[in-house]
Symmetry: C2
């Protein structure tokens, strides 16, 4: 339709790449709202003058990025574009990182997690606090490593949610993806670090209960910092 004001470099090498940019632009400009349904693959391909195959690759890419959602038999829709949708790919980074980068990721997590926990201490409600405690006791009441990790994840997730910044919570979620944590914890727990983890979690909970942001920040930073230091020494061997 409006091919008038084409950008400086519209020829993004491949046809598919161009399609990705075009669709992204439509969303950025507000021509496509969250939740809205797109034309069919066949129509979209025709509109941009390309084959359905190339258009499908573009759609698939945007689907993986969490921008679009394809429902078999129904159509293609724009996601709600919430932090969780778009930052899901963040988990891929954690899963594929190793060595020194794992330490860097933990460093980022330490910074964000300590701040999030501090914010949570100031803002957390009674209901949210109860939820946190639920996972805390559940974590201490089992020996199954899988279950412990699951409750540990939920423990920190509830805290991040209570901080009131969905974007931050989504990033932390990615930095704590299941496979990422499982890899690190395998060795960490072998050194009898479980008792220490319990103490650290208790300290965090205490700070939340007292609505003490500074104590919460310190406790969370120490908690993540412990794992970080352990991993650092592991790598230097």
């Amino acid at each position: 339709m409006n091919e008038t004001q084409s950008e400086a470099a519209p020829q993004k090498a491949t046809v598919t790449q161009r399609a990705i940019e075009r669709i992204k632009a439509m969303i950025a400009e507000g021509r496509l709202e969250p939740g809205q349904r797109l034309p069919t693959e066949r129509d979209l391909a025709a509109q941009l003058g390309m084959s359905r195959s190339s258009m499908r690759e573009a759609i698939r890419a945007l689907t993986v990025l969490g921008v679009l959602e394809a429902r078999h038999g129904s159509g293609i829709y724009v996601t709600q574009l919430e932090a969780g949708d778009l930052l899901e790919t963040f988990g891929v980074v954690a899963d594929l990182s190793r060595g020194p980068r794992l330490v860097e990721l933990l460093e980022v997590r330490r910074i964000l997690e300590s701040t999030a926990t501090a914010l949570a201490a100031a803002r957390i409600t009674e209901d949210q606090l109860a939820e946190v405690e639920k996972h805390l006791t559940a974590m201490n009441g089992t020996d199954d490593p899988e279950e412990i990790i699951a409750h540990d994840l939920a423990f920190h997730r509830e805290i991040a949610a209570a901080a009131g910044n969905e974007t931050m919570a989504a990033i932390l979620e990615g930095l704590s993806s299941r496979t990422f944590r499982a890899r690190v914890w395998r060795g960490y727990q072998e050194e009898g670090a479980f008792a220490r983890t319990r103490r650290e979690h208790a300290a965090i909970h205490r700070a939340l209960l007292a609505h003490d942001p500074e104590a919460a920040r310190a406790a969370a930073a120490a908690h993540v910092g412990e794992v970080e230091q352990w991993l650092r020494t592991q790598l230097s061997e």
Copy 2:
């Protein structure tokens, strides 16, 4: 080849999704090293028992995620899997976010940027400091908004690099993507905020020069916080 130990839930709905998981797994398990070349699309499709079309969609998705790199006429290669490669998609989040989420993103940036600047104050070398100063003076010596934004970006990028955490630098890079910053600054600068920005940048530079982490942290937090507050009031209207 080894179809023996198939995972618990290998049927990820679509064939393409399965291919994505398989390739990701190969990399995570170390069967594919960074920089290594993959089999051809045709061979890969045959190995996983699917059509080339479906395999291409999987490859395209991983390409967009920064995990793979396709070179026309040559082959498909695993990227170096560095922070910059994988976190490039982070910019998409910033570009497609608006309203309250923009404030959340700035909040995350404030937290990370202040810490990064503090780290930089402690670690920055003479050469890096000279580079920072170069962009600082260049920024103050022009009236072209485009150029100002470019040097502002470079200013913060150099600082993030001096902090010594590539992952953090890559995230901050995404949080400061060109389009993101351009959108916010358009209105911000109209209110004569340029003089204030200059002062804040000077304060950051002074802290770096003095190798004073705490001063650097405060200056950076205030700098980002100003924009954050401005955006917050904009939204409440």
